[in-house]
């Protein structure tokens, strides 16, 4: 089972009447990976997750988790999966403790010392009724129930919703620890900085189609960055034109501003051949790349 992808979809398609919510989605997420799943509102993220979990049924195609068919082996799959729904709702008349006990009873084999450890870590109050929780505290209970059985695969739909920055940091640390143990995290999120921080790879979905799947580092290397250079004497901008990856050059006396994509080595070699005094580079802006994918239907052909 461990040789199988943690999550695999093949031609996964879901229609609601005339609305195409998912179109021919092929995706493979490996074991031990933290996979970030991104896309604008209504792009199909939650539909994809609910299809994989057999909560809704695909119109075409199939999905499997740990090599098991998502429909045929739905119950067996759930023994190995922890899930946090995007629009989390709990039973208002139960306390946090009772909520976790209920799900632990349905699931079986939950180690309560681990659960209590999670509650301490998130500073979650388990004695209050869910109806009296703030949305952040409710989200903590949702997170604890997803992690409490130490599942091999975690599917988390917008997990950071309502969490304060301190708890978010704890949560992100937990994600890293989970991946380090060889377990898989599938993370749907709008918080790009979070995805950038914790995910190994990201997939971007738009209008039901998966438009790109890429390692975060790869994406960063493909980002267009700006480099500001200060030379000891005025320099001709032709020096940088034609250099690999350079898109645009502006000179103002001894200052040269270059936008480029890809490896910096060739560009630096060209600059070092002159009297380079100072150098200032912007951090690759992943958010800008994401937004490009979100906005432009043609971006998958031009942005990379």
């Amino acid at each position: 089972m461990t040789n199988q992808p943690a999550i695999l979809t093949e031609g996964l398609t879901k229609h609601y009447g005339d609305v195409e919510a998912l179109i021919d989605l092929d995706l493979s997420v490996g074991s031990g990976e933290v996979f970030g799943f991104l896309g604008p509102n209504g792009a199909g993220k939650t539909t994809m997750i609910r299809t994989v979990l057999d909560l809704i049924r695909p119109t075409n195609g199939r999905a499997s988790i740990l090599g098991m068919d998502s429909h045929e082996s739905a119950v067996e799959i759930r023994r190995h999966v922890g899930y946090l729904p995007g629009d989390l709702a709990l039973y208002p008349n139960l306390t946090g403790q009772e909520t976790l006990t209920y799900f632990a009873n349905l699931r079986g084999g939950v180690d309560w010392s681990f659960v209590n450890g999670l509650a301490d870590r998130f500073n979650a109050d388990l004695t209050t009724k869910v109806s009296d929780y703030s949305s952040g505290n409710r989200q903590k209970i949702g997170l604890i129930q997803a992690f409490m059985s130490k599942p091999e695969v975690l599917i988390l739909d917008e997990p950071s919703t309502g969490l304060d920055p301190l708890v978010q940091a704890d949560f992100q640390a937990l994600l890293s620890e989970t991946a380090a143990e060889g377990r898989t995290v599938f993370l749907s999120s709008h918080t790009l900085s979070e995805v950038e921080r914790v995910a190994h790879r990201v997939g971007i979905i738009r209008q039901g189609r998966l438009v790109v799947v890429e390692a975060v580092d790869e994406l960063k290397s493909k980002a267009i960055r700006r480099l500001e250079m200060q030379f000891g004497s005025p320099i001709d901008e032709d020096v940088f034109r034609g250099v690999d990856g350079v898109r645009d050059v502006n000179t103002e006396g001894t200052r040269v501003s270059v936008s480029f994509k890809g490896e910096m080595a060739t560009l630096l070699r060209a600059a070092m051949a002159h009297d380079l005094v100072n150098l200032n580079s912007d951090e690759a802006d992943l958010e800008e790349i994401f937004l490009t994918y979100y906005r432009d239907p043609e971006s998958e052909r031009t942005a990379v």
């Binding site: 609910r50 057999d54 049924r57 119950v75 729904p85 008349n93």
Partner: protein, 552 residues
């Protein structure tokens, strides 16, 4: 229709009103169809019927089959349906927006709380008026189709009284919802008052010493003046309208004085009682702590409070009915001699001169099935569709359990809870019979109680199937409750006429009442039919639920 709060409310509620109106007219059609040709029989017996009985069913001047049916429409069906719709709308006016979590959004607009109450209450008044008007016009149409003599009946006046009583209960629910922010408190209490008020206004006048107490109940001002025969009673009408306006003002004061809620919160009335320092200990004893060892256990503990309250209500009703028999037996014997089976069948009366017949009439014909069906339909509709509506089904099914286990757990809880209420029915009736020295056989009491349980389960099964198939709790409740309503009257009406009696077997109520189980013990065949029907409904629910997408 989205121009303002009033029109949006009309848009949201118009379908329910139209369905309610159609249901009443269908019953009128069914009744007039079944009773056509029985005019002579009915005219003959009218003079010999005691007034006390006529007061119960709110009919006087029964000269034709048509007037009997129209009396049922104007005095029972139309007010029950419209008051029910009024309660549903009234409870949602403020508390419904709070339960849905939309109140903040709504009042984020430049709209005052008072303005909101006025707009929504205006929509309720408009819809109830249209509903009453449609029933009035429709009933005329149906009566004309059967050439029913209507010259002596004042249907218009009766419908004005119907409108007044339905608005009274609608505003009562509005007042409670506005004051508490709890829809379940508002609708539950209002339905309770409606049923209590209906029974009290019918039964109390039978007992001379307490007859005046009937005036404490709003139903008294609805039909004690027999508006169908005597026209509008301005005094009674002004009491109902005055009460309605007073409650409207109370609602405005109530909603302006308190913090608004986001979401329904805990478990309705029970949770509210738990919050009250004086009631806390008692309530916690009644409801017990939440138990979460399985779906069935968790679900049944959620309904423990409701089961205890419904069980106690039936227990006390059944208990007091026993001693009452001795005081009334003379009247009842006269009455039983005067009334032929044809009329008794309408309200499910057996031979009233016997203790079994008395219990059948007062407890088992309406109170037991109504209580059982309300509880099972609520549980059945919430079973699958409620989890989806509350968005908890995704989380529940993310555990390693097949969907069939959800159905199984919810069904087991429904059986458990209703068996508890069935036990209370048995104990109350047995105690009441002993207290009054009536000597009703225990096997008969057990049989009637058990058949009540089975009848409740059948309609709970209907709600479960519809909920499992659609994921829509409201549709499931409406379909099951509507079907129960139709089945109740269909059984009563169809049995009267030899030509239509066979069709009564399509109604589950037939198998509940047939063979006088209270007198003759369990009718095994009937019990088997109801059990089989319930099992079939649960079996059908499984594939319906398994095959579809979970709503989100």
């Amino acid at each position: 229709m989205l121009a303002n709060v009033l029109t949006k409310t009309v848009r949201d509620r118009q379908l329910a009103v139209l369905i309610g109106v159609a249901g009443v007219l269908l019953m009128a059609l069914l009744g007039l169809g079944a009773y056509s040709g029985l005019d002579d029989t009915i005219a003959d017996l009218y003079d010999s019927m005691p007034e006390a009985y006529l007061a119960i069913i709110g009919i006087s001047d029964v000269t034709t089959a048509g007037s009997l049916i129209l009396g049922q429409v104007a005095n029972l069906m139309a007010p029950m349906v419209l008051a029910g719709l009024g309660i549903s709308m009234g409870a949602s006016i403020i508390a419904g927006e709070e339960a849905a979590g939309t109140m903040g959004l709504l009042l984020g607009n430049p709209k005052s709380r008072t303005g909101l109450v006025l707009s929504k209450a205006g929509a309720m008044v408009l819809l109830l008026t249209v509903g009453a008007g449609l029933i009035w016009a429709g009933t005329y149409g149906v009566a004309a189709a059967f050439n029913t003599e209507m010259s002596s009946l004042m249907l218009g006046a009766a419908m004005i009284h119907v409108l007044a009583i339905s608005m009274f209960f609608g505003f009562f629910a509005l007042l409670l919802g506005a004051a508490t922010g709890k829809r379940s408190v508002a609708s539950g209490t209002s339905v309770g008052l409606l049923l209590l008020s209906f029974l009290a206004a019918g039964v109390l006048p039978l007992i001379e010493s307490v007859a005046d107490l009937a005036k404490l109940f709003p139903w008294y001002y609805f039909n004690s003046s027999a508006p169908l025969n005597n026209g509008v009673d301005a005094g009674h009408l002004s009491i109902l309208i005055g009460g309605t306006l007073f409650m409207g003002l109370g609602a405005i004061v109530g909603v302006n004085r308190r913090d608004l809620r986001t979401g329904e919160g805990g478990g309705g009335l029970i949770e509210r009682l738990k919050e009250h320092p004086m009631m806390q200990k008692v309530t916690e004893k009644i409801t017990g702590r939440a138990k979460v060892s399985s779906i069935a256990v968790k679900t049944s503990t959620e309904y423990q409070g409701l089961a205890v309250i419904a069980g106690l209500a039936i227990f006390y009703t059944a208990l007091i009915v026993g001693p009452m028999y001795n005081g009334l037996s003379d009247v009842l014997v006269d009455f039983a001699n005067a009334v032929p089976e044809a009329v008794l069948a309408i309200i499910g009366f057996a031979d009233l001169s016997t203790p079994e017949g008395w219990y059948q009439a007062e407890v088992f014909s309406l109170v037991v099935p109504a209580a059982m069906i309300v509880v099972t339909v609520m549980m059945g509709a919430k079973g699958v569709a409620g989890e989806e509506e509350n968005n908890t089904m995704d989380l529940l099914l993310s555990n390693p359990i097949p969907r069939v286990r959800v159905i199984g757990g919810k069904t087991a809880a429904m059986v458990l809870v209703i068996l508890g209420i069935g036990t209370a029915t048995f104990l109350g009736t047995a105690a009441g019979s002993a207290l009054g020295g009536l000597g009703i056989g225990y096997s008969g009491i057990a049989a009637a109680s058990f058949l009540g349980v089975l009848l409740g389960l059948v309609f709970g099964g209907v709600a479960l199937v519809v909920g499992a198939g659609t994921g829509n709790r409201r549709v499931a409740s409406y379909v099951a409750a509507g079907l129960a309503f139709v089945a109740y009257f269909a059984n009563a009406f169809l049995l009267v006429n030899e030509n239509t009696a066979q069709w009564a077997k399509l109604s589950p109520f037939y198998y509940y009442q047939e063979g006088e189980p209270l007198l003759n013990g369990l009718q095994w065949g009937n019990a088997a039919v109801l059990t089989g029907l319930f099992a079939l409904l649960v079996l059908v629910a499984v594939p319906l639920f398994q095959r579809r997408d979970i709503r989100n």
